[in-house]
Protein backbone atom coordinates (compact mmCIF):
# COMPACT_ATOMS: atom_id res chain seq x y z
CA UNK A 1 0.00 0.00 0.00
CA UNK A 2 1.52 3.34 -1.03
CA UNK A 3 1.12 6.66 0.80
CA UNK A 4 -1.37 7.75 -1.86
CA UNK A 5 -3.62 4.83 -0.95
CA UNK A 6 -3.68 5.79 2.70
CA UNK A 7 -6.33 7.82 4.44
CA UNK A 8 -5.45 10.97 6.32
CA UNK A 9 -6.82 11.53 9.84
CA UNK A 10 -9.51 13.76 8.35
CA UNK A 11 -10.55 11.15 5.80
CA UNK A 12 -10.78 8.57 8.56
CA UNK A 13 -12.79 10.89 10.78
CA UNK A 14 -15.30 11.51 7.98
CA UNK A 15 -15.80 7.76 7.70
CA UNK A 16 -15.81 6.95 11.41
CA UNK A 17 -19.57 6.60 11.85
CA UNK A 18 -19.92 4.38 8.79
CA UNK A 19 -16.90 2.38 9.92
CA UNK A 20 -18.43 1.84 13.36
CA UNK A 21 -21.59 0.52 11.71
CA UNK A 22 -19.68 -1.55 9.11
CA UNK A 23 -21.37 0.40 6.36
CA UNK A 24 -18.25 1.02 4.25
CA UNK A 25 -17.09 -1.08 1.32
CA UNK A 26 -14.60 -3.83 2.25
CA UNK A 27 -11.80 -1.79 0.67
CA UNK A 28 -12.70 1.31 2.70
CA UNK A 29 -13.07 -0.73 5.87
CA UNK A 30 -9.53 -2.01 5.32
CA UNK A 31 -8.17 1.48 4.66
CA UNK A 32 -9.72 2.88 7.83
CA UNK A 33 -8.48 -0.06 9.88
CA UNK A 34 -5.00 0.37 8.47
CA UNK A 35 -5.00 3.99 9.64
CA UNK A 36 -6.39 3.13 13.08
CA UNK A 37 -3.65 0.54 13.53
CA UNK A 38 -0.99 3.20 13.11
CA UNK A 39 -2.51 6.46 14.43
CA UNK A 40 -2.92 6.72 18.19
CA UNK A 41 -5.20 9.76 18.18
CA UNK A 42 -7.71 8.35 15.68
CA UNK A 43 -7.54 4.96 17.41
CA UNK A 44 -8.36 6.62 20.72
CA UNK A 45 -11.34 8.50 19.23
CA UNK A 46 -12.57 5.38 17.49
CA UNK A 47 -12.29 3.29 20.66
CA UNK A 48 -14.22 5.93 22.58
CA UNK A 49 -17.06 6.18 20.06
CA UNK A 50 -17.27 2.39 19.73
CA UNK A 51 -17.47 2.04 23.48
CA UNK A 52 -20.20 4.69 23.77
CA UNK A 53 -22.34 2.90 21.17
CA UNK A 54 -21.74 -0.49 22.79
CA UNK A 55 -22.67 0.82 26.24
CA UNK A 56 -25.82 2.50 24.97
CA UNK A 57 -26.96 -0.59 23.07
CA UNK A 58 -26.29 -2.79 26.04
CA UNK A 59 -28.17 -0.59 28.51
CA UNK A 60 -31.11 0.26 26.24
CA UNK A 61 -31.63 -3.43 25.44
CA UNK A 62 -31.90 -4.35 29.10
CA UNK A 63 -35.66 -4.87 29.17
CA UNK A 64 -37.67 -7.85 30.37
CA UNK A 65 -40.60 -8.98 28.27
CA UNK A 66 -43.69 -8.97 30.52
CA UNK A 67 -45.39 -12.37 30.80
CA UNK A 68 -48.73 -10.61 30.36
CA UNK A 69 -47.68 -9.42 26.89
CA UNK A 70 -46.42 -12.86 25.93
CA UNK A 71 -49.79 -14.28 26.97
CA UNK A 72 -51.77 -11.68 25.06
CA UNK A 73 -49.76 -12.17 21.87
CA UNK A 74 -50.07 -15.93 22.35
CA UNK A 75 -53.85 -15.47 22.39
CA UNK A 76 -53.76 -13.32 19.26
CA UNK A 77 -51.72 -15.98 17.47
CA UNK A 78 -54.03 -18.75 18.66
CA UNK A 79 -57.05 -16.86 17.44
CA UNK A 80 -55.41 -16.32 14.07
CA UNK A 81 -55.08 -20.09 13.70
CA UNK A 82 -58.78 -20.78 14.25
CA UNK A 83 -60.13 -22.69 11.24
CA UNK A 84 -63.32 -20.65 10.83
CA UNK A 85 -61.27 -17.59 9.98
CA UNK A 86 -60.13 -19.27 6.79
Amino acid sequence: MTALDRYTCEEVFRRLNDYLDRELSPAEMAMVKEHLDTCGQCASEHAFEASVLQELKSKLRRIDLPQSLLDKVGAILAEARLPEEQ
Binding site: E45, S51, V52, E55, R61, I76, E79
Partner: protein, 224 residues
Protein backbone atom coordinates in the same frame (compact mmCIF):
# COMPACT_ATOMS: atom_id res chain seq x y z
CA UNK B 1 -62.37 -17.07 24.98
CA UNK B 2 -61.65 -14.96 21.99
CA UNK B 3 -59.51 -11.92 22.42
CA UNK B 4 -61.14 -8.87 20.94
CA UNK B 5 -58.58 -6.14 21.41
CA UNK B 6 -59.73 -2.56 21.60
CA UNK B 7 -57.07 -1.58 19.09
CA UNK B 8 -58.49 -3.88 16.38
CA UNK B 9 -60.24 -0.96 14.77
CA UNK B 10 -57.00 0.86 14.18
CA UNK B 11 -55.66 -1.82 11.86
CA UNK B 12 -56.68 0.26 8.89
CA UNK B 13 -53.46 2.16 9.46
CA UNK B 14 -51.31 -0.68 8.19
CA UNK B 15 -53.57 -1.44 5.28
CA UNK B 16 -51.55 0.62 2.77
CA UNK B 17 -48.42 -1.30 3.66
CA UNK B 18 -50.16 -4.64 3.45
CA UNK B 19 -51.86 -3.69 0.20
CA UNK B 20 -48.46 -2.93 -1.28
CA UNK B 21 -47.23 -6.38 -0.38
CA UNK B 22 -50.45 -7.96 -1.56
CA UNK B 23 -50.01 -6.64 -5.07
CA UNK B 24 -46.87 -8.66 -5.55
CA UNK B 25 -47.20 -11.92 -3.75
CA UNK B 26 -50.49 -12.80 -2.14
CA UNK B 27 -52.06 -14.58 -5.07
CA UNK B 28 -49.41 -17.25 -5.13
CA UNK B 29 -49.11 -17.72 -1.35
CA UNK B 30 -51.25 -20.26 0.49
CA UNK B 31 -52.28 -18.51 3.69
CA UNK B 32 -52.87 -21.45 6.00
CA UNK B 33 -49.54 -23.33 5.88
CA UNK B 34 -47.63 -20.05 5.98
CA UNK B 35 -49.45 -18.90 9.09
CA UNK B 36 -48.47 -21.97 11.03
CA UNK B 37 -44.88 -20.74 11.11
CA UNK B 38 -45.81 -17.35 12.51
CA UNK B 39 -45.57 -18.36 16.17
CA UNK B 40 -42.01 -19.56 15.72
CA UNK B 41 -40.98 -16.45 13.82
CA UNK B 42 -42.74 -13.89 15.98
CA UNK B 43 -42.26 -15.04 19.55
CA UNK B 44 -38.45 -14.71 19.62
CA UNK B 45 -38.81 -11.09 18.45
CA UNK B 46 -41.26 -9.97 21.11
CA UNK B 47 -38.60 -9.00 23.64
CA UNK B 48 -36.87 -6.61 21.25
CA UNK B 49 -40.19 -5.42 19.84
CA UNK B 50 -41.38 -4.56 23.34
CA UNK B 51 -38.01 -2.94 24.00
CA UNK B 52 -38.42 -0.69 20.98
CA UNK B 53 -42.01 0.11 21.94
CA UNK B 54 -41.08 0.92 25.52
CA UNK B 55 -38.13 3.12 24.55
CA UNK B 56 -40.34 4.99 22.09
CA UNK B 57 -43.38 5.37 24.33
CA UNK B 58 -41.87 5.21 27.84
CA UNK B 59 -45.04 3.67 29.18
CA UNK B 60 -45.50 -0.05 29.72
CA UNK B 61 -49.22 -0.16 28.96
CA UNK B 62 -48.82 1.80 25.71
CA UNK B 63 -45.82 -0.32 24.74
CA UNK B 64 -47.78 -3.54 25.30
CA UNK B 65 -50.68 -2.17 23.26
CA UNK B 66 -48.34 -1.26 20.41
CA UNK B 67 -46.75 -4.71 20.30
CA UNK B 68 -50.17 -6.38 20.38
CA UNK B 69 -51.36 -4.16 17.58
CA UNK B 70 -48.28 -5.08 15.54
CA UNK B 71 -48.76 -8.78 16.31
CA UNK B 72 -52.34 -8.58 15.13
CA UNK B 73 -51.15 -6.79 11.99
CA UNK B 74 -48.59 -9.55 11.43
CA UNK B 75 -51.32 -12.19 11.70
CA UNK B 76 -53.58 -10.42 9.26
CA UNK B 77 -50.82 -9.62 6.81
CA UNK B 78 -48.80 -12.80 7.15
CA UNK B 79 -49.95 -14.12 3.77
CA UNK B 80 -48.06 -11.21 2.24
CA UNK B 81 -44.79 -12.13 3.95
CA UNK B 82 -42.36 -13.67 1.49
CA UNK B 83 -40.63 -16.71 3.00
CA UNK B 84 -36.89 -16.37 2.75
CA UNK B 85 -36.96 -12.60 3.27
CA UNK B 86 -36.17 -10.97 6.60
CA UNK B 87 -39.12 -11.55 8.91
CA UNK B 88 -37.66 -9.40 11.66
CA UNK B 89 -37.44 -6.38 9.33
CA UNK B 90 -40.96 -7.13 8.05
CA UNK B 91 -42.39 -7.24 11.57
CA UNK B 92 -40.53 -4.15 12.75
CA UNK B 93 -41.90 -2.29 9.76
CA UNK B 94 -45.42 -3.13 10.89
CA UNK B 95 -44.54 -2.07 14.42
CA UNK B 96 -43.08 1.29 13.40
CA UNK B 97 -46.00 1.91 11.04
CA UNK B 98 -48.37 1.34 13.95
CA UNK B 99 -46.26 3.68 16.07
CA UNK B 100 -46.25 6.43 13.45
CA UNK B 101 -49.97 6.12 12.86
CA UNK B 102 -50.60 6.73 16.55
CA UNK B 103 -48.05 9.43 17.10
CA UNK B 104 -47.90 11.27 13.82
CA UNK B 105 -48.74 14.57 15.46
CA UNK B 106 -45.25 14.74 16.98
CA UNK B 107 -43.42 14.36 13.70
CA UNK B 108 -43.18 17.93 12.54
CA UNK B 109 -41.22 19.22 15.52
CA UNK B 110 -37.86 20.50 14.36
CA UNK B 111 -34.63 20.13 16.32
CA UNK B 112 -34.01 22.87 18.86
CA UNK B 113 -31.54 25.47 17.67
CA UNK B 114 -28.91 24.60 20.24
CA UNK B 115 -28.33 21.23 18.59
CA UNK B 116 -27.06 22.89 15.44
CA UNK B 117 -23.90 23.77 17.31
CA UNK B 118 -23.15 20.35 18.75
CA UNK B 119 -19.43 19.79 18.17
CA UNK B 120 -17.85 16.56 17.02
CA UNK B 121 -16.58 14.16 19.70
CA UNK B 122 -18.46 16.04 22.40
CA UNK B 123 -18.30 13.37 25.08
CA UNK B 124 -14.73 12.57 24.14
CA UNK B 125 -13.70 16.16 24.94
CA UNK B 126 -15.86 16.35 28.06
CA UNK B 127 -14.50 13.13 29.53
CA UNK B 128 -10.97 14.27 28.71
CA UNK B 129 -11.63 17.49 30.62
CA UNK B 130 -12.99 15.39 33.46
CA UNK B 131 -9.69 13.50 33.58
CA UNK B 132 -11.18 10.15 32.61
CA UNK B 133 -8.70 9.47 29.82
CA UNK B 134 -6.09 7.83 32.02
CA UNK B 135 -4.93 4.48 30.69
CA UNK B 136 -5.74 1.68 31.01
CA UNK B 137 -9.36 2.68 31.75
CA UNK B 138 -12.18 3.03 29.22
CA UNK B 139 -13.29 6.69 29.50
CA UNK B 140 -16.61 6.07 27.72
CA UNK B 141 -17.48 3.32 30.17
CA UNK B 142 -16.27 5.42 33.08
CA UNK B 143 -18.83 8.07 32.13
CA UNK B 144 -21.71 5.84 31.05
CA UNK B 145 -21.35 3.57 34.09
CA UNK B 146 -22.63 6.55 36.04
CA UNK B 147 -25.88 6.53 34.04
CA UNK B 148 -28.48 3.78 34.37
CA UNK B 149 -30.76 2.50 31.60
CA UNK B 150 -33.60 4.84 32.51
CA UNK B 151 -31.36 7.90 32.48
CA UNK B 152 -30.03 6.91 29.07
CA UNK B 153 -33.57 6.31 27.84
CA UNK B 154 -34.48 9.79 29.11
CA UNK B 155 -31.64 11.31 27.09
CA UNK B 156 -32.80 9.41 23.99
CA UNK B 157 -36.27 10.83 24.50
CA UNK B 158 -34.85 14.33 24.13
CA UNK B 159 -33.98 13.74 20.47
CA UNK B 160 -36.22 15.40 17.88
CA UNK B 161 -38.79 12.84 16.67
CA UNK B 162 -37.30 12.10 13.24
CA UNK B 163 -33.94 11.35 14.87
CA UNK B 164 -35.42 9.57 17.85
CA UNK B 165 -37.23 6.79 15.99
CA UNK B 166 -34.30 5.86 13.76
CA UNK B 167 -31.91 6.02 16.72
CA UNK B 168 -34.09 3.94 19.01
CA UNK B 169 -34.38 1.30 16.31
CA UNK B 170 -30.60 1.44 15.88
CA UNK B 171 -29.84 0.97 19.56
CA UNK B 172 -32.45 -1.76 20.15
CA UNK B 173 -31.76 -3.97 17.16
CA UNK B 174 -28.89 -4.63 14.75
CA UNK B 175 -30.29 -3.65 11.37
CA UNK B 176 -28.18 -2.43 8.45
CA UNK B 177 -28.84 1.07 7.15
CA UNK B 178 -30.56 -0.52 4.16
CA UNK B 179 -32.85 -2.63 6.35
CA UNK B 180 -33.58 0.40 8.52
CA UNK B 181 -34.48 2.37 5.40
CA UNK B 182 -36.90 -0.37 4.38
CA UNK B 183 -38.47 -0.50 7.83
CA UNK B 184 -38.98 3.25 8.11
CA UNK B 185 -39.77 3.83 4.43
CA UNK B 186 -37.07 6.47 3.99
CA UNK B 187 -33.98 6.58 1.75
CA UNK B 188 -30.73 4.97 2.93
CA UNK B 189 -29.00 8.35 2.76
CA UNK B 190 -31.59 9.77 5.15
CA UNK B 191 -31.01 6.92 7.59
CA UNK B 192 -27.27 7.57 7.45
CA UNK B 193 -27.47 11.33 7.92
CA UNK B 194 -30.10 11.15 10.67
CA UNK B 195 -28.21 8.48 12.59
CA UNK B 196 -24.92 10.31 12.39
CA UNK B 197 -26.44 13.60 13.45
CA UNK B 198 -28.50 11.93 16.16
CA UNK B 199 -25.34 10.51 17.73
CA UNK B 200 -23.86 13.97 18.07
CA UNK B 201 -27.04 15.37 19.60
CA UNK B 202 -27.42 12.37 21.88
CA UNK B 203 -23.93 12.87 23.27
CA UNK B 204 -24.90 16.36 24.32
CA UNK B 205 -28.18 15.11 25.81
CA UNK B 206 -26.36 12.38 27.75
CA UNK B 207 -23.97 14.93 29.14
CA UNK B 208 -26.88 17.16 30.12
CA UNK B 209 -28.54 14.27 31.99
CA UNK B 210 -25.25 13.53 33.75
CA UNK B 211 -24.94 17.18 34.81
CA UNK B 212 -28.57 17.41 35.94
CA UNK B 213 -28.23 14.28 38.05
CA UNK B 214 -25.05 15.60 39.62
CA UNK B 215 -23.03 12.76 38.11
CA UNK B 216 -20.28 15.01 36.79
CA UNK B 217 -18.59 17.69 38.87
CA UNK B 218 -19.30 21.41 38.67
CA UNK B 219 -15.92 22.38 37.24
CA UNK B 220 -16.49 20.41 34.05
CA UNK B 221 -20.12 21.42 33.99
CA UNK B 222 -19.03 25.04 33.56
CA UNK B 223 -17.10 24.17 30.43
CA UNK B 224 -20.03 22.31 28.87
Amino acid sequence: MLVVPHYAGSLGIIAPFMALALMDHSRTQPAVPARQGLDDLLKPLLGRAYGLALRLLRNRADAEDLVQEAALGACRGYATFQPGTNFKAWFFRILTNCYYARHRRQRHEGPPVEFDETPELYLYSQTAALGLHQPPGDPAQALLNRLDSEQIAAALLGLPEEYRVVSTLYFIEDFSYEQTAGILGIPVGTVRSRLHRARKILQKLLWRVAVERGLVPEAVKERA
